[in-house]
């Protein structure tokens, strides 16, 4: 209930202000009384200090977005601060100019949302601009039209993006939640008829799989995001296995577009490569280009770090050489990762020492379905098609659909799913803390509301309806 009310009030909101495109450059806008406080948590200046409050208004500064959890740098940005009332909304406004592409912008948005911002409603900046007197009275009609139209559009496109099965899944989760709410409330209203003895453990058995189901949905949201924003990919292999050949083959491929962002010094995403509908964001390509001796230079620890960061590992083996301990060590790091093993130099027939069968028998955890093996001759540009198919299989269940028809790509949907999971986790913690059943409904209601927002359904009188239709009230 609380989060619904917030929408009409003056909390701090954020949205990506520029059109979402592959342009790689965009502005994230934050508006509200806590804009500076929130942004300061995730921003450090060139002096590497959290000193945003000292930032002189109406100037633009260079700095870094960091994840406050581990101080990891996410992006370098230009940040501007417009102090109320000298801004579009007449509130404190911060604009973050990022070059990092959509993936990075999404990461920044998530940081803002995790640190106290709310995702702006359609037309909300304009609404605030008007309500704060920034927009002329004569434009009131136009502003109202914009809000009406934008919210209709948002609702439609949000519904459009929900695949039938996800819609069904969210609906079924909600049905299950409200049934439990109705049961608890019936027992509160009619305690002599409905008994809650032992109920909390039953509820736990119901909530735990619900959390898993929503987490699956969040994963599919990530899949949508991946399709739209690209797969964070790391290329791994011993010296001379063919890492730079792979990079060149990918870049040289006629279907690929390479965007190199000048001046980036960090090892986040350095190259974006598109294979038809698949976008790969390659990590640490600089290292590969500069030297072939990646593993030697960075060692296994660093490789581990890179693998952890990536959504996809392309592990290149020279198929003319035997598998050694180092291979085994690196392979074991890939155990729980989306990994594709590329057996390179497949053209040198006769000298082949590693085959896909050998991989399967060598590494017990390799399941050929989950960990595909591709044979290639990267110098000749052969095997890229197989690679592409393997990636498609791995990430998109084999089906390539047009980029527009994505799953839950929407940041908003993902947000709401996360909120629902968090609420359900609070239910579990209420159970753990031995709180009584009436406390469970507080968070069950929040979860129900969050899921409802995804499919555009309000709570209304649902609970009373459910109580009366499913439970027989006695006294």
């Amino acid at each position: 209930m609380g989060n619904v009310l917030n929408k009409f009030n003056d909390d701090t909101i954020t949205a990506i202000a520029t059109a979402m495109s592959d342009a790689g450059i965009g502005i994230i806008r934050v508006s509200g009384s806590d804009a500076v406080t929130i942004c300061d948590k995730i921003y450090i200046s060139s002096k590497k200090k959290h000193d945003l409050p000292d930032h002189e208004p109406n100037t633009i500064k260079f700095g870094y977005i960091v994840d406050p959890a581990d101080d990891k740098i996410i992006d370098e940005v230009m940040i501007s601060f417009m102090k109320a009332p000298h801004s579009y909304t007449k509130e404190d406004v911060i604009e973050i100019n990022s070059h990092g592409g959509m993936l990075v912008m999404n990461e920044i948005m998530n940081l803002l949302l995790n640190n106290g911002c709310r995702l702006a409603e359609p037309g909300e900046f304009t609404k605030r601009a008007f309500l704060n007197g920034r927009i002329d009275l004569t434009k009131a009609e136009a502003v109202m039209d914009i809000i009406g139209a934008q919210s209709r559009f948002a609702l439609e496109s949000s519904r459009g993006q929900l695949q039938g099965n996800i819609y069904k899944e969210v609906k079924s989760l909600r049905e299950s939640i409200i049934y439990q709410m109705a049961f608890i409330e019936s027992a509160i209203d009619d305690p002599e008829n409905y008994d809650l003895t032992g109920y909390s453990e039953k509820l736990r058995q119901i909530v735990v799989p619900m959390i898993e189901r929503i987490e699956m949905l969040i994963k599919s949201a990530d899949e949508g995001k991946i399709r739209k924003d690209g797969i964070k990919t790391v290329i791994i292999g011993k010296p001379n296995a063919g890492k730079s050949s792979l990079l060149n083959a990918l870049s040289g491929n006629e279907r690929a577009i390479v965007t190199e962002i000048a001046g980036t010094t960090r090892d986040v995403i350095e190259e974006t490569i598109r294979l038809d509908d698949i976008i790969l964001n390659l990590i640490d390509t600089a290292g590969i280009r500069d030297t072939e001796d990646l593993i030697e230079k960075i060692g296994v620890d660093r490789a581990k770090e890179k693998i952890a960061e990536a959504d996809l590992c392309l592990y290149i083996l020279d198929s003319t050489k035997d598998i050694d301990d180092e291979d085994r060590q690196i392979m074991s790091l890939c155990e729980n990762k989306n990994t594709i093993i590329i057996l390179n130099k497949n053209d040198l027939k006769g000298n082949i020492k590693i085959t896909s069968d050998m991989i399967v028998s060598e590494f017990s955890f390799v399941d050929i379905d989950k960990l595909p093996v591709v044979t290639a001759s990267l110098l000749n540009g052969e095997g890229i098609d197989f690679l592409k198919n393997a990636i498609t299989d791995l990430f998109f269940n084999g089906e390539i659909v047009p980029k527009q028809e994505i799953y839950i790509t929407n940041l908003r949907h993902k947000r709401l799913l996360i909120e629902a999971v968090n609420s359900l986790k609070l239910v579990l913690s209420s159970i753990d803390n031995d709180l009584s059943e009436d406390f469970y409904t507080v968070d069950l209601t929040s979860a129900y509301t969050s899921l409802g927002e995804i499919i555009g359904e309000e709570i209304g009188d649902d609970l009373a309806e459910e109580i009366f239709s499913k439970f027989c009230m006695g006294k």
């Binding site: 609380g2 009409f8 003056d10 009406g148 009188d461 009230m473 006695g474």
Partner: protein
């Protein structure tokens, strides 16, 4: 010629002396207004035509709130209860609820006595046949949306009572008819006279009415019941009183038992075989009944997988043998009733004193009420209770008190009493009645209160007593008493938060004894109370500076500390809620002027004409974008009017 008295002039006329009417009349009279309360039967004041209990889940909260504001219900039930129980004690404090079995006759007599002894108040047994009104000419009133102004009422004899305010508390009496199978009586509940003329007058005044129904089970001759086949249900000991002003000593007395038995497959079979003889299933009843209080035939039809239903056998009072058969209301014909009741263990040889019946009555269509419970178009006409589409004695009493106070405030040109959803169940009840369609009789439930952790029955005095004092129904002495209580709570909470105990051997020994994990570092007493196995009482021996405090103070201290996290969370939600409640919508807004509103939203807003943005946001069919549009429109008006200045 000698002048006769065809006309009386008073301040307030209350129509009906049920639970709503009594509270409304008492409030007005106590606030210094000359008040008449009309009743169809002066011997049936505050009559309970259905179940013989007051309170229950969420209803108990209402009774506490009525008491906090200076109403009467809690005090009367404390004097006349037969059995008392605090429900839901195994659950959180927010859903604890008090329920008492009432002695119906004693309750009615006691309330009648209070009314009779009340200065400024008189009881008149008469059927009000007309409300009297005139057109509003005053511009400022027209501007507020009033079209008419109430001038009084006319009773069936022709006598006129001129009044500044009229409060409709007609319950289930408007054009009522009772149905037992094919047998239809045009009467009020329990054979009392119906009110047949007033509906026409209300319609003429432009008020829209609809038809609701409710029902009641049979009353059995207690001598024909075999209690040995039922399980006995006892009351609590000690008894906790409803009223904050009742001395707990006064309510400790021997209690009367209730009895629990069950229906069975045989009962259900009889019902199923005869369902076509039920006036509801045969389509004779037009009124909409409450689903939360289903008749036994509804339970059997809608829940075919239940092989039995609970039946509570409860005393009607000490003045009679009659027993109320709770859980088996019905409108089946008498012969089916007899057969079906006689299948229930313990009722095999029962004799029915009064048949079960369904009752249909006229009541108000939603959307016609101001949040003050005044009818929107008609200045000075208020309404409360079942006439507003609610059900239940407690819901009625709460509205009666609220409407009575606000009628008095209007006459005395004082600020209206407002209780919002974050302040009381009364606020939730009134808000739901004025903003929702309510397609069936409305019953209070704790789940309707989104801030229920704050709206507990134990803190109703803290929440509302000051409002009662401001209004003038709570005297200074009682208000002072509350101020002292609040101070003690605050001081004790602060002390417990600031008093720490070290992790020394004495403390660890204590922790071990009580089965709590040892302390790692110095810990505040408040933190200790938060541990499930510890409480205010059992940490007494390690709390050296403790002073003796009254039990109600300790209760508040403990709840405040233990549920602080949840309570604070709700307080933050309330802050957001309040901001929207403060954004007022002008009374004369024309929703056709608000461009970009969706058609459905425009229609709903026009129907309910909400008083503020918060209310608007709760109307079904109005979505967040509509609210944004409305906010912008309101801002346009405000800016234009300030430009004019």
């Amino acid at each position: 010629m000698i002048d006769t008295c065809l006309k009386e002039t008073i301040d307030v006329a209350v129509i009906g002396a049920g639970h709503a009417g009594c509270e409304a009349a008492l409030a007005c009279a106590r606030l210094g207004l000359s008040t008449v309360v009309f009743t169809m039967s002066a011997d049936n004041i505050a009559f309970m035509p259905c179940n013989p209990h007051i309170g229950g889940s969420s209803k108990g909260h209402l009774v506490r709130e009525i008491d906090a504001l200076g109403g009467e219900m809690g005090k009367v039930i404390d004097k006349t209860f037969l059995q008392s129980k605090m429900l839901n004690t195994s659950k959180g404090p927010a859903v604890h609820s008090l329920r008492c079995q009432a002695d119906k006759m004693e309750y009615s007599k006691a309330m009648r006595r209070v009314l009779e002894n009340q200065e400024n108040l008189f009881i008149k047994q008469a059927e009000v046949s007309e409300i009297l009104f005139e057109d509003v000419t005053d511009e400022s009133l027209r501007h507020k949306g009033y079209k008419k102004r109430i001038t009084g009422v006319k009773i069936f004899s022709g006598m006129i009572y001129e009044a500044k305010a009229v409060i409709l508390c007609t319950g289930t009496y408007l054009k009522s008819r009772c149905l037992t199978g094919e047998a239809i009586t045009y009467s009020g509940p329990n054979g009392l006279l119906p009110s047949n003329y007033l509906s026409e007058s209300l319609l003429k005044a432009g008020i829209e009415l609809r038809r609701f129904k409710t029902g009641t089970p049979a009353r059995m001759d207690g001598n024909t019941i075999d209690y040995s086949k039922m399980s006995e249900q006892f009351g609590d000991s000690p008894v906790i009183p409803f009223s904050f002003d009742t001395d707990p000593e006064d309510v400790q007395k021997p209690q009367v038992s209730c009895w629990l038995t069950y229906t069975n497959e045989k009962t259900h079979e009889i019902i199923r075989k005869n369902i076509d003889r039920s006036p509801i299933y045969a389509g004779i009843i037009e009124g909409i009944g409450p689903r939360y209080c289903p008749s036994i035939e509804d339970k059997v039809v809608k829940f075919p997988d239940h092989d039995r239903h609970q039946v509570f056998v409860e005393p009607e009072g000490t003045y009679t043998n009659e027993m109320y058969i709770d859980g088996m209301s019905s409108s089946l014909p008498e012969d089916v009733q007899l057969a079906m009741y006689r299948t229930v263990p313990g009722l095999e040889n029962c004799r029915i004193v009064k048949n079960a019946y369904a009752i249909e009555y006229d009541c108000l269509c939603p959307g016609q009420l101001h949040p003050t419970l005044e009818i929107k178009d008609i200045r000075g006409l208020f309404s409360a209770g079942q006439f507003n589409g609610s059900s239940g004695y407690e819901e009625a009493a709460a509205q009666g008190l609220y409407a009575g106070i606000n009628a008095a405030m209007q006459i005395q040109h004082r600020d209206y009493l407002t209780i919002d959803r974050s302040e009381g169940y009364i606020g939730v009840l009134v808000d739901d009645l004025v903003t929702k369609e309510n397609l069936e009789p409305y019953r209070m439930m704790t789940s309707r209160a989104e801030y229920r952790l704050l709206l507990r029955q134990d803190n109703a005095d803290i929440r509302l007593r000051h409002k009662g004092h401001d209004v003038g129904l709570i005297d200074d002495e009682r208000n002072e008493k509350l101020l002292i209580k609040e101070k003690l709570i605050e001081e004790e909470v602060t002390r417990l938060k600031n008093t720490t105990v070290g992790a020394n051997s004495n403390i660890q020994k204590f922790m071990e004894k009580i089965g709590s994990t040892p302390l790692k570092t110095a810990t505040s007493l408040a933190e200790l109370i938060c541990r499930p196995e510890l409480n205010y009482d059992n940490i007494a021996e390690i709390d050296n500076e403790r002073k003796p405090l009254p039990a109600d103070v300790i209760e508040q201290v403990e709840i405040t500390i233990r549920y602080e996290g949840y309570i604070n969370r709700q307080h933050r939600q309330v802050e957001q809620f309040k901001k929207l409640e403060k954004k007022l919508i002008p009374d004369d807004i024309d929703y056709n002027d608000v461009g970009s509103l969706r058609l459905e939203a425009r229609q709903k807003l026009e129907k309910f004409r909400p008083a503020n943005i918060g209310q608007a946001s709760r109307i079904g069919g109005v979505n967040p974008a509509d609210i944004s549009v409305l906010l912008i429109y309101l801002d346009t008006i405000n800016r234009s009017s300030s430009d004019e200045k």
